[in-house]
């Protein structure tokens, strides 16, 4: 197996292994905080930071951490950066902190983080590990944004807080309530599954003879 280039590592998380639409990981924040586009971006960026920073540290310490205590070490490292983000968001904006609520602290329980630390960062040098984590984080952010903007447009008639349809728009309130998260996520999963289905079919037609 040839080592993938750094750029491929980065792109992996955004498209081919998108944590939300392909790996279906980290569903708790995905459903909970995506009521508006701005919340989605903030949550995504917070997760990206934790992911990149913890993967960097895990990768740096990878030869020093014995197998038996690796999970404990990873969790301590991840929890550290979650705490860092928690303080940082409080320092940036208390309104945002209130809006994201407990979900900032719950980043620690997001399976993308431990998954990346265990499956990738622990086996790779710092640079590719960080790039891969960064790509995963951005993929996660884009996924959240895709869900968040649809929910905000339908549920509040706004995007990034800007009114789109004027005062006569009757908001589809259920979209910003918990059920709306499931509806929109399911919608996007269908879209992505259809994409994959089409491309598999096309590949089969094209490469049928070769394989």
């Amino acid at each position: 197996m040839s080592a993938p280039s750094s750029f491929d590592e980065f792109l992996d998380g955004i498209w081919k292994q998108n944590p939300i639409f392909v790996m279906v990981l980290g569903m708790c924040p995905t459903l909970a905080v995506t009521v508006s586009a701005i919340n989605s971006i903030s949550m995504g960026l917070a997760t990206t930071f934790v992911l990149a920073a913890s993967c960097l540290l895990v990768s740096l310490l990878r030869s020093a951490i014995p197998k038996q205590v690796r999970i404990a070490s990873y969790i301590v490292i991840i929890a550290t950066f979650v705490t860092v983000v928690d303080y940082a968001i409080q320092a940036i904006s208390l309104d945002l902190y209130e809006a994201l609520g407990a979900y900032i602290k719950l980043i620690v329980a997001n399976c993308i983080l431990l998954g990346r630390a265990e499956a990738h960062a622990a086996k790779n040098p710092p640079l590719p590990a960080t790039l891969n984590a960064f790509g995963m984080g951005l993929g996660f952010t884009l996924g959240l944004l895709a869900i968040g903007s649809v929910r905000e447009i339908l549920g509040a008639g706004k995007l990034f807080g800007l009114s789109l349809f004027g005062p006569h728009f009757q908001p589809w309130v259920v979209m910003v309530l918990p059920p709306g998260g499931f509806f929109v996520l399911a919608g996007w999963l269908i879209v992505f599954a259809a994409f994959r289905h089409i491309s598999i079919k096309r590949n089969a037609q094209l490469g049928g003879v070769q394989s």
Binding site: L61, P66, K67, Q68, V84, A91, L94, L177
Partner: protein, 226 residues
């Protein structure tokens, strides 16, 4: 005895690693905490002032006090609030005159605690404004307590005057069904958002029942701060 090649990691190595990881993480956390503390505190103060200015528009300066069963004390210089203390804010206007009192009320709403800040007018003996500190009520239904004009009109002069013995309110603040408000101490609920309206009323009643008897006898102390 099996002769499988087992690599045994000595316990000391594990302890050392965990210690190392903890030390690194500890340093990072403490560093960031120290770094962000000033702006976090500034943000908190700013958020509080913004809330207070909303319920008492003429506000210029906010001073935090604790109300205890025996009197009121300035919060500044206290390491921690005294037992059974209730926090309230004395608000002064441009000419350093007491513009009003602001305090927090909270009660369980439909989804979570509804926390509101209310402004108390000392001369009118009434609540003259409320603002929401935090809530998770249903968008479009419960969150009307922020925007519904009829509902907000309840808080132009909501009577919270004390009874003759100064131990409790003369009339408990109560949320009534939409359209049935007859007395100045009643809150006209929003039709369709009764649970949230009631939470606001209950919260204000609980808070005012405790705060007013402690506060009103000492109000002159606030009028002339030394």
């Amino acid at each position: 005895m099996s002769d499988k090649p087992v690599t045994i990691t000595p316990s000391s190595a594990m302890v050392r690693t965990l210690g190392l990881v903890s030390v690194i993480c500890g340093i990072i956390i403490v560093g960031v905490y120290q770094l962000t503390l000033p702006s976090v505190n500034a943000n908190k103060k700013l958020a509080l002032e913004r809330q207070v200015f909303k319920v008492i528009p003429s506000a210029k300066k906010v001073v935090t006090y604790f109300a205890t069963p025996t009197g009121i004390v300035l919060a500044e210089g206290q390491d921690q609030p005294p037992a059974q203390a209730m926090t309230f804010y004395a608000v002064y206007d441009e000419s350093n005159k007491l513009a009003g009192i602001a305090a927090e009320a909270s009660s369980a709403g439909y989804a979570d605690q509804v926390r509101v800040l209310y402004g108390y007018d000392v001369d009118k003996k009434a609540i003259t404004g409320i603002g929401v500190v935090s809530m998770r009520e249903t968008p479009g239904i419960g969150d009307k307590i922020l925007t519904d004009e009829d509902f907000l009109r309840n808080f132009t002069a909501l009577d919270v005057s004390l009874s003759a013995d100064m131990q409790s309110l003369a009339n408990a603040v109560k949320t009534v069904k939409h359209g049935t408000k007859t007395n100045p101490w009643q809150i006209d609920a929003i039709a369709g958002a009764t649970v949230t309206s009631k939470a606001v009323g209950r919260g204000i009643n609980e808070s005012a029942q405790t705060l007013m008897p402690r506060l009103v006898p000492h109000i002159d102390k606030l009028r002339n701060p030394s």
